[in-house]
Amino acid sequence: MRKFLAVLKREYIQRVRARMFIVSTILLPLVMSLFGIVPAVILSIDAGGPMRVAVVDQTGKIYTRLEQELVSDEQQPTDQSEPMRTGPDMPGRAFLLQQVAAVGPDAGEQRQQLEARLRNKEIDGYLILPPDFMRHGKAEFFNNNPGDVLTRRILQQALNRAVREQRLIEAKVDSETRQGLFQPVEMQSVKIGASGEERDSGGSFILVFGVGFIMYLAILMYGQIILGAVIEEKETRIAEILFSSVKPFTLMMGKLVGVSLVALTQLAIWATAFSAFALYGVNLLESRGLKASIPGIPFAHYVYFALFFLLGYFIYATIYALVGSMVTTTQEGGQLAMPIILILVVSFYLFLPVSRSPDSSFSFWVSMIPFSAPVAMLVRIVTQTPPFWQIALSLLIGFATVVSIMWIASRIYRVGMLMYGKRASIPEALRWARQA
């Protein structure tokens, strides 16, 4: 046991002290927050001041309403029936409208005038609403910068709303009904549990997805490191010295747990940074009057999340260790590890069928097979919690898998070392595991 701790301690301290670890730990949250903030900041840069648009309203009904739409609800969420991708946090340019009195039905002369003003940069664009605009809905917009899609779209949507209001007024719909018509719907998902209790499982479901995703990331990032850690003693030729003091299984376990603690340390630091960021975000949204809350999740679920996350991580990590025991260089290991990613991705997508019918026998088996169990079982827990014995059995099978893979890996590792740097083919590896 003390030797196991010695191996674990070395593995942990050497890695946590490494410059790479410190840099990547600090850099990732920084980069992520940069990706979150920078685009918003850039989009909000208002390089040219408000856009000056001259409006020739030949219908005589729209201008005031359009001005209202553009000025009053500048920051309001846009039309629900026509979701705008840019969202409220990415405003286009502000507008400065000026009405130009319509001169007769033929606006040819007026156009030339406006064009001259456009060339002289007195205005940035002009909008012509023809007399039959209310019926055909065809307006013309001239500007000197056709590339500014965002601004044009905001203008178009404001115009759209203005016209719709006007049409409703003309159809003699009173203002209360008008507001009622555009009230967006809300859909609340309510779970009916076995005992009839009601609770919202949406938050848990998102978390399952999150846990699965973090597991996937952790395996992608740390699988290779575990592979490297197992190969390290072969490449530096320390293995034989170690084996005169410590059993291969102890060595492998110490390495696996040591590297995993490094992974958990890093994830914990990131999680802290992320929660701080999220809390800040929630506060920010609340201060702007938007409702955002952290979903309420039963305590038992947090325990299951932690257990199955660890299980999932360790199951895949041990496969990397197994690959490491068979090869002599990291490059070889990288190639052999490719199929692992494939299994990982496939078992991750199994959460879709499981979430549709969590009580089916398909879901049962999927949540018992070690490679797919972590995500599948979590999905079942948050949808229709299976009996406790199933959860316990799934954990037990997973744990047994981890230990047996490590045991096999340590046997292959030892025989491989005795064979002097020969890479094992799969059948050879099997034979080594038996004969060691």
Binding site: R2, V7, Q14, T236, R237, E240, I241, S244, S245, L418
Partner: protein, 303 residues
């Protein structure tokens, strides 16, 4: 501990697939002596050692260590420097040594003092906080040597410990090995460099093609071969030394020659013939055969 015997192998065999690495090997390593495990490359030395340190188990036969069955706990009383050896490249020398000590169940504060003491002894004190990748190859080798002795083992097993070291460091390590022997430690020394083995081994066992060729105390083995070699330093008289009736084998060194007398030839006759031929004789001495000669003779005989 059974007094007198540290390691006992009784009819031990080990094979890997079709390849027999060690066949029916019996040997006894006496306590407090330097035991040389000699033999050409591939003779089975390393496999024998690995069985003694419990890295691999024999297919058949019995190995006793300190008078009992080998087990993991006894591993802590062995210091092993394998031929395949290395260090963690990015780890500081002191951390590295402490780690290897911990793997032998040596913990606590006095480890640091021990490390300082040993580093001073191999003249690497100022490298204590350097990463091993910054050390020269010879320095790394001395650190590797320390990993084997730091935990004060009763049995020290060294597999080609001096290969690649300069003569000064060979001398340094040799002194340490002899000091350990004086302190009552048992040392198994595996090499194919006969000159080194000759200088420090008390007992030897010669392996060839997985089997024991002979074993015993170096002294006895040498005297059993008799004094039929003559070290000669002379000017002229070449024709005499080349006479197959007198000399069966002649090895010329820079200014000396070693002549193995032909069967039935008399050293006195050789000396007279040399004087008669007018050679100026600087040295004429009956010598024991070198271990190297015995080794070559035995191995070729065996083949």
């Amino acid at each position: 501990m059974t007094r007198g015997i540290t390691v006992q192998l009784n009819r031990v065999s080990k094979s890997f697939g079709d390849f027999t690495a060690v066949k029916d090997l019996s040997l006894t390593v006496r306590a407090g002596r330097v035991f040389g495990l000699l033999g050409p490359n591939g003779a089975g030395k390393t496999t024998t050692i690995r069985m003694i340190v419990n890295i691999t188990a024999p297919d058949s036969g019995k190995i006793e260590l300190f008078g009992g069955q080998i087990n993991a706990a006894l591993q802590d009383r062995i210091g092993y420097l394998p031929e395949e050896r290395g260090l963690y490249r990015r780890m500081k020398v002191v951390d590295q040594l402490r780690f290897f000590a911990e793997l032998k169940n040596v913990h606590g504060k006095n480890v640091e003092a021990k490390i300082d003491e040993w580093l001073a002894r191999v003249k690497l004190s100022e490298w204590k906080y350097k990463r091993s990748m910054e050390l020269s190859k010879g320095m790394q080798q001395k650190i590797q040597f320390l990993t084997a002795v730091l935990h004060d083992p009763d049995l020290l097993i060294l597999d080609e410990p001096f290969s690649g070291l300069d003569p000064i460091n060979v001398e340094l390590l040799k002194e340490i090995v002899l000091d350990l022997k004086r302190a009552g430690k048992t040392i198994i020394f595996s090499t194919h460099q006969m000159e080194v083995a000759e200088k420090i081994c008390d007992d030897i066992c010669l392996l060839n093609r997985s089997q024991k060729v002979f074993a015993g105390s170096l002294r006895e083995i040498k005297s059993s071969f008799g004094r039929n070699s003559v070290a000669v330093r002379c000017e002229g008289g070449d024709g005499v030394l080349d006479d197959p009736a007198l000399v069966s084998k002649l090895v010329r060194h820079a200014d000396e020659a070693q002549a193995l007398l032909a069967e039935g030839a008399d050293a006195q006759v050789l000396l007279r013939r040399l004087i008669d031929s007018g050679a100026k004789i600087g040295r004429f001495e009956m010598v024991e055969p070198s271990l190297n000669d015995i080794f070559i003779t035995k191995v070729t005989e065996n083949a």
